[in-house]
């Protein structure tokens, strides 16, 4: 496979995953903003921050409004994580790698690809739930088309590697935001407000129902952390994503009959995570654990690019 094609597949999957994650963040923001006392807490700032690059755009001390967040996260082409940017870039990647996509995958990306061009912030806010549903449907259709139709060749592995990496990062960033914004020092851990904020994170990751089934309806920060970091059955947990990365990269090593730095790193990531339990995470510090996870996933992304001659 052409290196450029592999790179396009990898990034296409990342952008689709990111578009969906950003859509979920907007839902989370809306949920949190209607909770009592929301405007004191600058909830939208935490949402913007979870995308990883909002702090440059929104200086501290100025309230981030819903309008700001919707504009920035949904429509802004200068924001590489906005839904519009992600969908446009995913389509451009798909167009360049078209011969590797099934017709259904292409159609999932191609249908209505300029839809968001016609919206201004006012309209987008008004129709936010419908737009978010539209984005989620696009991404799920795309994922389903890949799942049910794409050849299980290396192209598929590059695609799945991209989505697992992006997913791991999003879950880590959400946990980090939780640490920064949702755990004010004055608040007692496990307090009432804390409860809402943690559950909003579960909602943002579509994990609320699954969490109930696993932990039986009680919310504690350590259980939720356990669920999002270490649960091997929840497909958006860090552990699950790391397992996927290891599995996909191993398959790629098999296709190519050679291993690179990325294979060493992913093995390390999986092993390190296996040493942890939620008690250990809080002893070391959630922030520290998450930061080290983000460092490792970034490093892994760069190593994958080098191993397979991207760029």
């Amino acid at each position: 496979m052409l290196s450029r094609t592999a790179e396009n597949l990898f990034w296409m999957a990342r952008y689709m995953e990111r578009a969906e994650a950003t859509a979920r963040l907007l839902t989370m923001g809306q949920r949190m903003a209607i909770l009592p006392g929301a405007h004191h807490r600058d909830e939208w700032r935490s949402v913007v921050r979870a995308t990883g690059n909002g702090s440059r755009v929104f200086p501290e001390g100025v309230q981030v409004t819903e309008s700001d967040a919707v504009s920035y996260l949904m429509l802004d082409l200068d924001n590489p994580s906005s839904i519009r940017s992600c969908l446009l870039k995913a389509r451009a990647n798909a167009k360049s790698a078209r011969t590797m996509l099934t017709q259904d995958m292409w159609e999932a990306l191609n249908e209505g690809w300029r839809k968001l061009d016609s919206y201004d912030v006012g309209e987008a806010r008004q129709q936010l739930p419908a737009l978010i549903d539209w984005v989620k449907t696009r991404v799920m259709t795309f994922r389903g088309a890949a799942h049910s139709g794409q050849l299980r060749n290396e192209g598929h592995d590059f695609l799945r590697t991209g989505s697992a990496l992006e997913r791991a990062q999003m879950t880590l960033r959400l946990l980090d935001v939780k640490y920064y914004v949702l755990l004010p020092e004055t608040e007692v851990i496990g307090g009432n407000r804390d409860h809402y904020q943690w559950t909003s994170v579960l909602y943002a990751l579509s994990g609320a129902r699954a969490y109930h089934h696993v932990y039986g309806g009680t919310y504690t920060p350590w259980q939720i952390t356990d669920f999002l970091m270490l649960n091997r059955l929840f497909p958006r947990s860090v552990a699950y994503c790391y397992d996927q990365l290891a599995y996909r990269l191993n398959r790629l090593a098999g296709w190519h009959d050679s291993r690179g730095a990325c294979h060493e790193t992913v093995r390390q990531m999986v092993t390190d995570l296996e040493q942890l339990d939620s008690g250990e995470i809080f002893r070391v510090g959630l922030h520290e654990t998450v930061q080290s996870g983000l460092r490792m996933t970034n490093r892994l992304g760069a190593e994958i690019a080098r191993t397979y001659h991207f760029g």
Partner: protein, 469 residues
């Protein structure tokens, strides 16, 4: 009145359109228009578009599609088939000649300056013979019909004729939407084309190639207006679609960068222009090129299809001599006629053209896509005068042709079937053998009376049927 392909001059239906006529009656015009909307939605979803630069609006536009097929009888096709193959052979023989001994010039049939002063002539190709002596591997010949038995060639496209994806997709959509029309097996299939193209390309593998040739399609990239076609063809042939940056030269061979490391490439079906191929030989400012590839080509390490320099054969000044080429190289009488053409480079012909500009179609010799032409009868006095000034300033850059009584083909209008002018481009494949699928691209002017069928100027496309005996 121009010849109407569906109706005889005195009115009755031509028999080859009987099936279509009864289908139109069964479905009704309104019904057909509804189906047309469905068809367009499908085209849009699949992404069959071409890119348009710098005009604002939709950067990826649909080419208007017309539901009513254009039909050739088996007998008509036999003539066209022989004529097209003959022309493709002569053009390739000509290309070999101009890059070697130049016999046609020595014989006094063509003036030397038309060839050797031409910007499409590449001195770098002199004395080199590409594999199989093939220069133009896909010859697109634009043909118009001017009477019941009269077909004339408008121009030859020896470099990178585009549009073949529409031939295939138009058929695909017609069989998808109207399976009953194809149920009786009356229409000759065209879906062999990609397989035939791949065979032709493999047949011209370079001397250095051992084993099954690796063929790739080289595109400038996803912003190119014909990118859809490039990816579509690569897909149907099951070959890699590469961009220039995916290729590099090492040790006298060409390689593509893969996740497994470099992989050797034997045949490149390139859809980028000559001048961008190799910055070491042609344009040094080309960011698209693959440095050193031309040298590898000349040393037999890779085949470029079509060959650099093949464009000399589709130059409009050279076109005039194609019937002579057929006689000279093949010793045959031309089966398809040229359109009468005046060369403004010749003083007496130029004088005639300037005097009759209001009734002629004048074109720039190097122009393409319908740009830079003047349609005399449809132009104002001022436009004609301005064009005449351009001709006088640079006569050898212009030719002129009579305004033809182009046939009209049945086309779906909002309320009725109407006649619109059309041309036809078949795609002749040249490898060790010559291959031609029964069909091609029919382009139709959608405005009443218009003669301009180019997609860049609002023309549409329709399926082309060759009926089987």
């Amino acid at each position: 009145m121009p010849f109407h392909e569906m109706f005889e001059p005195d009115g009755p239906l031509r028999p080859c359109y009987a099936e279509v006529q009864s289908w139109v009656e069964r479905t009704g015009i309104a019904g057909l228009n509804r189906r047309l909307e469905e068809a367009e939605a499908i085209f849009r979803r699949i992404g069959i578009t071409f890119a348009v630069y710098g005009e604002g609006g939709d950067p990826e536009r649909l080419i208007p599609f017309d539901l009513l097929p254009r039909i050739f009888t088996a007998q008509e096709w036999r003539v066209l088939d022989r004529g097209i193959r003959q022309r493709a052979r002569a053009l390739n023989a000509f290309l070999h000649d101009v890059y070697h001994r130049g016999e046609i010039v020595k014989a006094g049939i063509m003036p030397a300056d038309i060839i050797y002063q031409n910007s499409a002539y590449l001195a770098e190709m002199a004395d080199f013979t590409p594999p199989g002596k093939v220069y133009s591997h896909i010859v697109g010949i634009d043909i118009v019909r001017t009477g019941p038995k009269r077909f004339e060639v408008l121009e030859d496209n020896c470099r990178t004729p585009s549009g073949v994806s529409y031939m295939l997709e138009n058929r695909e959509i017609m069989t998808r939407m109207f399976p009953e029309l194809f149920g009786q097996g009356l229409v000759a299939p065209v879906d062999d084309y990609p397989a035939e193209l791949l065979k032709s390309l493999k047949e011209v593998a370079p001397p250095a190639c051992k084993g099954d040739p690796v063929v790739v399609l080289l595109t400038p990239g996803s912003l190119n207006s014909a990118y859809y076609e490039h990816s579509f063809l690569a897909d149907l042939m099951g070959i890699e679609l590469v961009e220039p940056a995916d290729l590099f030269v090492d040790e006298e061979r060409v390689w593509m960068k893969t996740t497994l490391g470099p992989k050797q490439v034997d045949v490149i079906y390139r859809r980028i222009d000559d001048e961008y191929i190799d910055p070491l030989v042609f344009r040094p400012d080309s960011l698209l090129g693959i440095p050193g590839i031309f040298n590898v080509y000349r040393n037999g390490g890779v085949t470029l299809a079509s060959a650099p320099g093949a464009g000399i054969a589709d130059d409009k000044a050279v076109y005039i001599y194609v019937p002579e080429m057929i006689r000279f190289y093949l010793g045959e009488q031309p089966i398809l006629d040229n359109i009468q053409t005046w060369q403004c480079g010749k003083p007496d012909e130029c004088a005639y053209v300037l005097e009759h500009l209001h009734e002629l179609v004048a074109k720039e010799v190097h122009g393409s896509g319908g740009y830079g032409m003047l349609i005399g009868p449809k132009s104002t006095k001022d436009e004609i005068a301005a064009y005449a000034d351009r001709i006088r300033a640079n006569p050898s850059e212009f030719i002129a042709q009579p305004t033809l009584d182009l046939s009209t083909v049945p086309t779906l209008g909002p309320a009725a079937v109407v006649g619109r002018h059309a041309d036809f481009r078949p795609y002749c494949l040249v490898g060790k053998q010559i291959r031609l699928v029964p069909g091609g691209l029919t382009r139709v002017a959608l405005t009443e009376g218009s003669l301009v069928v180019n997609s860049s100027q609002g023309g549409g496309v329709k399926d082309t049927w060759v009926l089987q005996d």
